[in-house]
């Protein structure tokens, strides 16, 4: 089995990133062609600017991809192979953050601000960061109820309440 050098791995990552941007450009080109009228050359319709921009996005993303080899050597020199476990930890941390945001998007309306924030903080401090129980509880309850008081009573921000008025 072949093992990729750091610069090769970086080049590969840069290319995948650029291809993802190409895919975004192609999606916009497809929807522009499918849904939007283009008008005439002297009176452009709503589809012409997005189509032109989407084509430019594809072109620039491909240009970035073409230059990714040289850039990758530079960036790979700045990093080293030992960063792999740290990268895995960072990726796990990133997934937890996004998961928290997605859950809270649905939970706010259903169970209210205080319970959602309390749940999130207990999860991050107690489960993800494995902090001792007492500081976890103190910080979680303090922030959940304290920030509600700050936002609602001081800053006059309207926040949702859940069951039992919480």
């Amino acid at each position: 089995m072949s093992v990729l050098r750091p610069s090769d791995r970086e080049t590969q990552r840069q290319r995948i990133g650029a291809l993802a941007l190409v895919a975004v450009g192609l999606l916009f080109i497809w929807r522009s062609l499918a849904d939007l009228p283009f008008g005439t050359i002297d009176n452009p319709g709503p589809g012409i600017t997005p189509l032109a921009l989407a084509i430019l996005l594809v072109v620039f993303a491909l240009w970035s991809m073409a230059g990714s080899g040289a850039n990758a050597v530079d960036s790979a020199e700045a990093s080293n192979v030992e960063e792999e476990p740290a990268d895995q930890g960072a990726a796990r941390h990133a997934v937890f953050i996004i998961a928290g945001i997605l859950v809270s998007a649905f939970a706010f309306g259903a169970i209210g601000y205080r319970l959602t924030v309390l749940g999130l903080l207990l999860f991050y401090l107690g489960v993800v960061e494995r902090k001792p129980l007492t500081p976890t509880l103190l910080v979680s309850f303090g922030i959940a109820f304290g920030s509600y008081a700050l936002f609602v009573h001081v800053l006059r921000v309207s926040l949702p309440t859940g069951p039992w008025g919480l």
């Binding site: 997005p50 080899g69 960072a90 945001i101 997605l102 649905f106």
Partner: protein, 500 residues
């Protein structure tokens, strides 16, 4: 001149209202904290706290966010000098000589010179902004859609030229931002574009979830592994610089102010560039350039003055033309729009309270920062002792609540999450995400100016080549784009030669 002073008086009347003054103070303090905390730059700080400003009157909101911006500029120098950790990107240069001064037991004078330089540069730049913006706005009243189109195009070209990253990547991000700005109902035809059946997308993506996601959330993700620190705290009595240090700082502060203000007007992250240029100039002008890098006070005074002056200069195009040429200004423009205020050359005439109140708040803010920063330096650096594992969930909650609270929209929180994940991925791949927000804000203006120009000319594209201002702006933009391409072409040629 009498009219300017009269208007400034009006501004002070506005800003000395206790509620506005309170938010000016608050903005400066929050900004300093944002600047002190490594990784959390002014852009992320403003993005996270943006929603709080929506419940405030427009003048108070702008005063608060402006305070955060220049407060972060001040605060960024503290960790650079004491710990060699730049609180924000513009303070990178200050690390070099500032930290050396700390190692030599001169941390106090370094902090004092940085604060005094920032105060002088900030104050003088506000004077320049006050004198320059109104005539520029009057001149811009002659601008029609073709001139605006050319100005915005030039802004995007200059941005890609000035960006620290490779040009193709910057252009890709700017175009991506422009494209995302196309989502929602087209104001000219009423067509719903790219909403994919999601009702909330008809109003567009929203600058708030996009900015908070790209800057705030991605920052939290990238800061994984940040450890709490044990910074040193200089005593108040140790802050006074020696007479020789004070004398050596006068020239660099003056030059840094001029350099910073002029560079600040240029699009992009100019405040970062200004500190590097100032450092290079001071080293070049010094009789003892060998002292630079070994604790030269000029290496602190010049760059710190320059980055504060640049922060102020960047407001000129925003306030005079309504054109944001930097990401922070783009977000501030969005705040104005949310409050139903149309940015543009008429802003100064139609909203004198807002414009002059903002100017006056900058005078007050600079003074507040000078008074607060030095005695409270120990308090601010103590924040670095809080473990990141406790800090990030709280910042994340602020992001989520902030975005949700504006429209009580679940979809906007989801957009923030997606933008956060995208921002994390892009920044890992060394793309600068600031052009996305800039492009996103400029997109509707650019498209409107383009289509209105064609409507004016009856479909003649030559309209962009018939007006002197338009031609000049487009030529400057094209020339900078061409100059920016040279390194990429040369690198390619070198790679080809090496391969052969």
């Amino acid at each position: 001149m009498a009219e300017t002073l009269h208007n400034l008086l009006l501004g002070f009347q506005v800003v000395l209202d206790p509620s506005v003054l309170l938010y000016a103070f608050l903005g400066c303090i929050i900004g300093t904290i944002v600047g002190v905390l490594p990784g959390l730059g002014p852009l992320a700080g403003i993005s996270i706290l943006l929603p709080i400003s929506f419940g405030l009157p427009p003048t108070t909101a702008i005063v608060l966010l402006g305070g955060i911006y220049y407060g972060a500029m001040y605060g960024g120098s503290t960790t650079s000098i004491l710990m060699r950790i730049p609180g924000e990107a513009a303070s990178v240069v200050t690390c070099i000589d500032g930290y050396e001064m700390t190692r030599q037991g001169r941390a106090g004078p370094a902090l004092a010179i940085a604060a005094i330089g920032s105060f002088v540069a900030g104050t003088l730049s506000v004077v320049a902004l006050m004198l320059l913006a109104p005539p520029l706005a009057r001149f811009a009243l002659a601008f029609g859609p073709p001139e605006y189109f050319a100005l915005l195009m030039m802004g995007l070209f200059v941005l890609s030229y000035m960006s620290s990253g490779p040009m193709p990547k910057t252009l890709t991000m700017a175009v991506l931002g422009l494209l995302l700005g196309m989502i929602g109902i087209d104001p000219m035809s009423g067509y719903n574009r790219f909403s994919f059946g999601v009702h909330e997308l008809s109003d567009g993506l929203g600058v708030l979830p996009l900015a908070v996601g790209l800057f705030g959330v991605s920052e939290i993700m990238l800061a994984y592994g940040t450890r709490a620190m044990r910074p040193m705290k200089p005593r108040f009595s140790e802050l006074l610089p020696s007479r020789a240090e004070a004398r050596a700082s006068i020239g660099p502060i003056g030059r840094g102010t001029v350099i910073g203000f002029l560079i600040g007007i240029i699009p992009g992250s100019a405040h970062i560039l200004s500190s590097f240029v100032s450092y290079a100039v001071e080293k070049k002008l010094s009789d003892h350039p060998e002292r630079f890098g070994k604790g030269a006070v000029e290496g602190v005074a010049g760059p710190e003055s320059a980055n504060n002056a640049a922060a102020c200069g960047a407001f000129v195009p925003m306030l005079a033309l309504g054109v944001p040429l930097g990401p922070v200004q783009a977000i501030l423009i969005a705040v104005l729009v949310v409050h139903g205020i149309a940015p543009g050359p008429l802003l100064i005439a139609q909203q004198p309270q807002l414009f002059w109140g903002f100017i006056a708040s900058m005078y007050i803010g600079n003074l507040v920062l000078l008074i607060l920063n030095l005695p409270l330096v120990g308090v601010f650096v103590s924040l670095l002792r809080i473990p990141y594992t406790y800090l990030y969930p709280v910042i994340l909650i602020c992001c989520i609540v902030g975005v949700y609270a504006v429209n009580h929209s679940m979809v906007e929180v989801l957009i923030m999450g997606i933008a956060g994940a995208a921002g994390y991925g892009l920044r890992k791949l060394r793309y600068d995400v600031a052009p996305i927000v800039l492009g996103f804000i400029l997109a509707p203006m650019l498209e409107m100016a383009f289509r209105q120009s064609l409507a004016m000319s009856g479909g003649e594209y030559t309209i962009f080549l018939q007006r002197p201002i338009t031609v000049a702006l487009l030529l400057v933009g094209a020339a900078l784009l061409a100059i920016g391409l040279i390194p990429a072409v040369m690198r390619r040629t070198r790679l080809k030669e090496a391969a052969e």
